[in-house]
C-alpha cells in the first residue's frame, strides 16, 4: 500500500506555494496526498489526520508562529491517541527552534533552502523503514 501523507498549514499564514508544490511532487512520487488548504487550527488538522488515517503529517508555516502551533498539533494528536503518525515540518524555522521541535517528537525539520527532492526522498525512506 502506498504511503498516505497529509500536508497541513496551521495558523494564519496564507503562503502555500511550497506546500502545494510539495504535495504534487509527493503525488508524482506515488504517494497518496491530502492537502488541508490554508488557515487550519491544530485541532482541525489533528482531526483530519486521524480521519484520513495518514502515515505522515507534514506541517508548514512561514509566519514564524511554528513554536506555538506545531507543539499544539502534537498535543492534539496525542489526545486522539494518534501519536504513531510521523510528523515532519518545514518553513522559516531557525536552527535553534528546529532542535526544540525535534525534541518534542517532530521527526525532521526542513528549513529555508531545502529542496523538494530532499523532502520527497526523506519521506520515501520512512516508507521503507515502515515496511521493513
Amino acid at each position: 500500500m502506498s504511503l498516505r501523507v497529509m500536508i497541513a498549514k496551521p495558523g494564519l499564514d496564507g503562503h502555500d506555494r511550497g506546500a502545494k508544490v510539495l504535495a504534487r511532487a509527493l503525488r508524482d512520487a506515488g504517494m497518496e496526498v491530502i492537502y488541508t488548504g490554508i488557515r487550519r487550527t491544530p485541532s482541525e488538522i489533528a482531526e483530519a489526520a486521524v480521519e484520513e488515517d495518514v502515515d505522515v503529517l507534514g506541517l508548514n508555516c512561514l509566519s514564524g508562529a511554528h513554536m506555538s502551533l506545531f507543539p499544539k498539533v502534537i498535543e492534539e494528536l496525542k489526545a486522539r491517541g494518534a501519536d504513531d503518525i510521523i510528523i515532519i515540518a518545514s518553513g522559516i524555522i531557525p536552527e535553534e527552534d528546529s532542535e526544540k521541535l525535534k525534541a518534542l517528537g517532530i521527526r525532521e525539520v526542513f528549513g529555508p533552502g531545502s529542496s523538494v527532492k530532499e523532502i520527497v526522498d526523506f519521506i520515501k525512506s520512512l516508507d521503507k523503514s515502515r515496511n521493513g
Binding site: H15, R17, I38, S63, G64, S68, I92, V116
Partner: protein, 544 residues
C-alpha cells in the same frame, strides 16, 4: 540586398552551437532582434510620448528627471512602538514614503487576544488592535508630508478609518492625506489568503472604500490592484499582467454598478507588481501592462479623461527569488530586479533585504536594500532620460509578445464570465499552481540555474545576526488591549458596533460607521466581528 535577405544570409552563416532559451512566460528568445521583428510597429500608436496615451514609455512626461520614484520599504514587526522606531530610522536614512506591514491577526481582522492569534502577534508585521496602537505607530511622523501605503485588504476600511482619525488628531484634514490601502480582496482568494468574508460582501467593502475616497479622501489611492502575490505564488510574467488587469476590470465594473463614472475613480486606482530575475522580461512586462490598461480604460470603459488611463504602480523585488544559501548574493539579485523596475517606469519601489529568506530584515540589511535604490537613482545615470530602453528591437518585441500572451488569458477569463467566476471555478489558482510546479521541476533538473542553490554551491554555514520577534511582544500586546477594554466608554463602543451591524444589512456606504466605531475605541476584532455577524465568514473550498 534587403534586410530580410541579409539577415537570412547571416543566420545561415552561423555554425556555433547555442542555447534556445525560454523566458518565464514560455516565449522562445531568438538569437537577434532587428526591425523585422517589429512589423506592426507604429511609434505613435505603440509608444507615443511619456505622460500620453498609451503610456507605454511612462505615466509622467519627465519621469525621474523631476524626481526619482518613492523609496518605500515595507516594514513592521512587534509592537507599534518598535515599528515607529524603524520608520523613523528609515526616514532618517533617506526613505521617502512609508509602507506598513501588519501582522496576520490584524490582516484577518482579529485582536491580539483572540485564540486564533496565538503565536502570530507581531510576527510578520506590526500588531494593531485599536486607534491607540495606530497613534503610536505614527508618533512624531508628519502625515501631511509623507505618503503611507498600507498592506491591508479584508479589514481595509477599518485601518483607513484609523489612519484618517490619527490624521484628525494631528490636525490634518482627510483631504490632505496621501497614500494607499491595498484593498484588493480578489487576489486574497487567489493567492494571499487573508480573507475574512465571502466574496460578495467583500466586494461591497472594497467598493465602499473606493467610493468614499473619491469624494472624502481625494488624494488617497483607494486600491492597489496587486499582481505581486500571484507572481510570488508561481504565476509567470504574462499571467501576472493578465490576472492583475482582469482583477482591475472587475473592480471597475463593480464601482460603475454604483453609478459612478469611470473618470471619477480611475485616476485613484493604483497597481502593484513584482520584479523578478529575468531582466528584460520584467522591463517589458511593466511597459506592456501600462499599454494594456490604457486600452482597457479607454475602450472597454470609455474613459474621457487621459489621466484615467494611466497605470501607476508600486514594485517590490521578488521575495521567492531570495535564497537561504549564500544570502549575500541576494544583494545582487535585488539590485538587478530593482533596476528592471526602474527601467520599467515604477512610481515607488520596495527592495527586499538580503536576509529575508531567513527572517524579517535587520536594520543593517534593510539599510543595504535602501542604499541599493539610492545607488540606482543617483549614481547609475538611468534616471537621466525617460524610458531609455524604448526602441530596442528586443524590448519592443518582448513588450508586444507579452501583451499578446496576456490578452489571451484575459479573453479566456472574459469567456468564463469574468474574474469572480474564474476564481470561483479555480481556473486562476490552477494556472498559477501549474506554473509554480513547472518552475520547480526546471530548478530540480537544473534547466533553470539558481546560483548557490542548484549550481555554484558551497557548504558555507550562514552566520549572521537575524531579527527575532520576542515572544514577550504578544503578552505585552494582550495586556495593553485588556487595559484599553477596561478604560473606554463601553456604552459608546456598543452603540457604534450595533449601528455598524445594522448598516451592514443596508446598502449604505459603511465607511462613516466604521469611522465612528474606531473613534469610540472599538477594537479591530470587534469591528470586523460586527460585520461577520451579517456577512458570515469565507471558508475556502477543500483542495485536492
Amino acid at each position: 540586398m534587403g534586410l530580410e535577405e541579409e539577415l537570412s544570409e547571416w543566420n545561415k552563416s552561423i555554425k556555433a552551437k547555442e542555447r534556445k532559451p525560454l523566458n518565464t512566460s514560455g516565449l522562445e528568445i531568438k538569437r537577434l532582434y532587428t526591425p523585422l521583428d517589429l512589423k506592426e510597429f507604429d511609434y505613435l500608436k505603440s509608444l507615443g510620448f511619456p505622460g500620453k496615451h498609451p503610456y507605454t514609455r511612462g505615466v509622467y512626461p519627465t519621469m525621474y528627471r523631476t524626481r526619482p520614484w518613492t523609496m518605500r520599504q515595507y516594514a513592521g514587526f512587534g509592537t507599534a512602538k518598535e515599528t515607529n522606531e524603524r520608520y523613523k530610522y528609515l526616514l532618517s536614512q533617506g526613505q521617502t514614503g512609508l509602507s506598513v506591514a501588519f501582522d496576520l491577526p490584524t490582516q484577518v481582522g482579529i485582536d491580539s487576544d483572540d485564540e486564533l492569534a496565538l503565536g502570530e502577534v507581531g510576527k510578520v508585521g506590526v500588531a494593531i488592535d485599536s486607534i491607540e496602537d495606530m497613534e503610536t505607530l505614527f508618533d512624531e511622523i508628519d502625515l501631511s508630508k509623507i505618503s503611507t501605503s498600507m498592506t491591508i485588504n479584508a479589514p481595509a476600511t477599518v485601518l483607513l478609518a484609523m489612519y484618517i482619525t490619527v490624521g484628525e488628531k494631528k490636525g490634518i484634514d482627510r483631504k490632505a492625506l496621501n497614500g494607499t490601502v491595498q484593498n484588493d480582496i480578489l487576489k486574497e482568494y487567489i493567492a494571499r489568503g487573508t480573507y475574512i468574508y465571502p466574496p460578495v460582501p467583500s466586494m461591497r467593502l472594497t467598493t465602499d472604500l473606493i467610493t468614499y475616497c473619491s469624494t472624502e479622501v481625494p488624494k488617497w489611492h483607494a486600491i492597489s490592484i496587486s499582481g505581486y502575490h500571484m507572481r510570488e505564488a508561481g504565476a509567470t510574467a504574462a499571467q501576472e499582467i493578465a490576472f492583475t488587469l482582469a482583477d482591475g476590470i472587475t473592480y471597475c465594473e463593480e464601482v460603475m454598478k454604483r453609478g459612478i463614472g469611470i473618470d471619477d475613480f480611475a485616476p485613484n486606482l493604483s497597481f502593484f507588481f513584482a520584479s523578478h530575475s529575468n531582466f528584460f522580461e520584467e522591463v517589458a512586462k511593466f511597459r506592456a501592462a501600462r499599454r494594456m490598461w490604457a486600452e482597457i480604460v479607454k475602450n472597454r470603459f470609455n474613459a474621457k479623461e487621459e489621466r484615467s488611463c494611466a497605470l501607476k504602480f508600486h514594485t517590490q523585488t521578488g521575495g521567492v527569488t531570495l535564497t537561504a544559501q549564500q544570502p549575500e548574493n541576494n544583494i545582487v539579485r535585488v539590485a538587478l530586479q530593482a533596476l528592471a523596475a526602474v527601467l520599467g517606469g515604477t512610481q515607488s519601489l520596495h527592495t527586499n533585504s538580503f536576509d529575508e529568506a531567513l527572517a524579517l530584515p535587520s536594520e543593517r540589511s534593510v539599510n543595504i536594500a535602501l542604499r541599493t535604490q539610492q545607488l540606482i537613482a543617483y549614481e547609475s545615470g538611468v534616471c537621466d532620460t525617460v524610458d531609455p530602453l524604448g526602441g530596442s528591437y528586443y524590448i519592443e518585441w518582448l513588450t508586444d509578445s507579452l501583451e499578446e500572451k496576456a490578452w489571451k488569458y484575459i479573453d479566456e477569463i472574459d469567456r468564463m464570465g469574468g474574474m469572480m467566476k474564474a476564481v470561483d471555478n479555480g481556473y486562476v489558482q490552477r494556472e498559477i499552481a501549474n506554473s509554480a510546479y513547472e518552475y520547480q521541476l526546471k530548478v530540480e533538473n537544473k534547466e533553470h540555474i539558481i546560483v548557490g542553490v542548484n549550481e555554484f554551491k558551497n557548504d558555507e554555514k550562514v552566520n549572521m545576526e537575524l531579527l527575532k520577534v520576542d515572544e514577550a511582544v504578544e503578552r505585552a500586546q494582550v495586556e495593553k488591549l485588556k487595559r484599553l477594554r477596561d478604560r473606554r466608554d463601553k456604552s459608546r463602543v456598543e452603540e457604534s458596533l450595533r449601528t455598524l451591524e445594522k448598516k451592514c444589512e443596508s446598502d449604505e456606504n459603511l465607511m462613516p460607521y466604521v469611522l465612528e466605531c474606531v473613534k469610540s475605541y472599538a477594537t479591530l476584532g470587534e469591528i470586523c466581528g460586527a460585520m461577520k455577524k451579517v456577512f458570515g465568514e469565507y471558508r475556502p473550498p477543500e483542495v485536492f
